[in-house]
């Protein structure tokens, strides 16, 4: 016994154990890679090789079916959290010149009392996205659309960089002692409303969500109502319409006045 080599086909124990292990492996592979996939009719497999590949997890791009195209313009901005976060002095300089024509409504320092959005200190990606959406028609404004239509992509990036560079200025209604409404801090989980602060900056910032502090209450309210009614639809995949639809008129009022009073 002891002089017999262990790993040898002449050793019946070795032969049997390796043979049985291999048989189990082959049977399991046949079951997992061929039988199980083919037993799922909805997979519509082209054959055994297709079954093996799909079960083994070979990725393939989702089939581009001819789905239903939107009957309105949607935003075509590809939003990432790194977008326009690099400070570029040349861009800011060009933006400062271009922004002169924005000053009538948005103020020479990016702040005004005209109920148009205050842009000083706004994230560059946000300003760029809105300009781009005005240009493509995803967002419509009698005043803004013609301005944006005349801007090149680089113009929009420059203006956005300039406003991001300007320091934020609090509104005349600044009141930091104002308690934050429940909807801002905890949202309304029972109505599918995440806290405003989880995207708009107080707690966390989601790419593309504007900083709302010091923004005109009239403007915030108008935008929330437009999202709720569907009059404004340039939020990517309904991310803001889903929220605004569920908000009560009272909540809209509360957040509008709260954010106006923030720095």
């Amino acid at each position: 016994m002891s002089d017999q080599p262990l790993f040898s086909l002449r050793n019946p124990w070795f032969g049997a154990s390796v043979g049985i292990t291999a048989a189990i492996a082959v049977l399991s592979a046949v079951a997992g890679l061929i039988w199980l996939p083919l037993a799922q009719p909805n997979l519509k497999l082209a054959g055994v090789w297709d079954a093996i590949c799909s079960a083994a997890g070979v990725p393939r791009a989702a089939v581009q079916e001819t789905g239903i195209k939107p009957d309105f313009k949607t935003s075509n901005v590809v939003m990432t959290s790194e977008m326009l976060t690099k400070v570029n002095q040349v861009s800011i300089g060009r933006g400062a010149t271009l922004a002169q024509r924005c000053a009538i409504c948005h103020g020479p320092q990016g702040v005004s009392d005209a109920h148009s959005p205050n842009l000083a200190g706004q994230f560059a990606a946000v300003t760029y996205k809105e300009l781009n959406d005005f240009k493509t028609g995803a967002r419509v404004s009698v005043v803004m659309s013609p301005f944006a239509a005349a801007m090149s992509d680089q113009d929009m990036k420059d203006v956005a960089a300039y406003y991001a560079y300007l320091p934020r200025v609090p509104s005349n209604n600044l009141d930091t002692g104002r308690p934050a409404p429940v909807i801002v801090v905890t949202g309304a989980p029972m109505r599918n409303i995440a806290p405003c602060g989880s995207c708009h900056g107080d707690v966390d910032n989601k790419a593309g969500s504007p900083w709302l502090g010091g923004q005109s209450a009239v403007y915030i309210k108008a935008q929330l109502e437009a999202f709720a009614s569907g009059a404004r639809r340039n939020d990517i995949s309904q991310q803001m319409r889903n929220i605004a639809r569920q908000m009560t008129a009272d909540e809209i009022d509360q957040v509008a006045h709260y954010y106006e009073a923030q720095p």
Binding site: L43, I68, N76, S237, I243
Partner: protein, 187 residues
């Protein structure tokens, strides 16, 4: 002489025990493989048969997950395909409407981070992973309302993220589908 007999006796006992243990382990492995096969065939677990990719950054630009293509679609063979996306912090469509007693395929993906896809009161429970399409064949037995919470922590607003699934009568769904090609129950 006596020691020689003891030796061969001991060898026989060892061989018998070894064979029994080997048989037992083989049976255990066999049962486990058989169990996995059985639940796979009877769809108690639904491992996805295919790995399909979709770029989370450009879902809204083209392909099947553009806003206007989301919702429930009646197929020519009478089955229903539901397309949805999860994003921080909501599902679109916010309310999914499907018929009872009908084969349904859920196709969903995430536009940002990993989200959960769970329909309460059913065994539907999977993940929406950015970059990949979740494809799930299901069937609802009876009409009723279900909540669909995101069950994978996806950020600070996670607790507010959930959708609704309305299972309605087959005939009522067919009437709705005749009027509109993508159905939702968002009010």
């Amino acid at each position: 002489m006596a020691s020689e007999t003891d030796h061969s006796l001991g060898e026989a006992v060892a061989a018998r025990i070894e064979r029994r243990w080997a048989t037992l382990s083989i049976v255990i492995v066999g049962v486990l493989v058989g169990m996995a096969t059985y639940i796979g065939i009877h769809q108690a677990t639904m491992p996805q048969g295919r790995v399909e990719t979709a770029d989370p950054k450009t879902l809204h630009l083209s392909g099947e997950f553009v806003e206007s293509n989301l919702g429930s679609e009646m197929q020519a063979d009478g089955s229903v395909t539901v397309r949805a996306i999860g994003q921080q912090y909501s599902f679109t469509p916010q309310c999914i409407v499907v018929p009872a007693e009908t084969p349904i395929t859920f196709r969903a993906t995430s536009a940002d981070v990993v989200h959960g896809f769970l329909i309460e009161g059913t065994n539907i429970n999977t993940m929406l992973v950015p970059g990949y399409v979740t494809d799930l064949p299901v069937r609802f037995k009876a009409p009723g309302d279900h909540v669909m919470p995101c069950q994978e922590f996806c950020g600070i607003g996670h607790q507010g993220m959930w959708g609704k699934v309305k299972v309605i009568d087959k005939a009522a769904f067919r009437d709705m589908a005749a009027a509109k090609r993508r159905l939702t129950c968002v009010d």
